[in-house]
Symmetry: C2
Subunit: 89 residues, 2 copies
């Protein structure tokens, strides 16, 4: 697999890739969620779980059937970091 993208942590049972993203205001959270949806549609890869409130978004990629995370999961996780950085500009 690729390197662990910055800020993400590995979890187990099932093998998962997790990161929390924080925002100043709901409008920023909402913009990030929209960009995330567009990325999922572009890549066909959807994080298994997204958990959000007005100023945070928690994202988890999970391996299917307790197998391994895919190269695509890592790639999309890294691209989510890019979305977050561009929102922070």
């Amino acid at each position: 697999m690729g390197d662990l993208p910055s800020g993400w942590e590995m979890r187990d049972k099932p093998p998962s890739l997790f990161r929390r993203f924080d925002f100043e205001r709901y409008a920023d959270t909402r913009g990030f969620l929209d960009a995330l949806a567009a990325l999922a549609e572009e890549t066909g890869i959807h994080p298994e779980k997204i958990n959000f409130g007005s100023t945070y978004v928690n994202i988890t990629f999970e391996a299917a059937d307790d197998a391994e995370l895919t190269e695509g999961d890592y790639t999309v996780a890294a691209r989510i970091n890019d979305l977050y950085r561009s929102k922070a500009d």
Copy 2:
């Protein structure tokens, strides 16, 4: 407080209103999330936690500071049911 809207359950610590919504396809889930965001912007009331995957959305309203849920929380929960019904048409 108002009546418990259909399909929602009460939870405790803090007092919460919870419901799970299921969808056939990601596109339906996405449409529901968009409608939900528009409703939050219209009413100024945001569920404290929204948890979703490609075919489900879990929504939780939580009382602030362990106080009580507000009339507004119940009203918005009922309107979310309407959104769900209209998506199912």
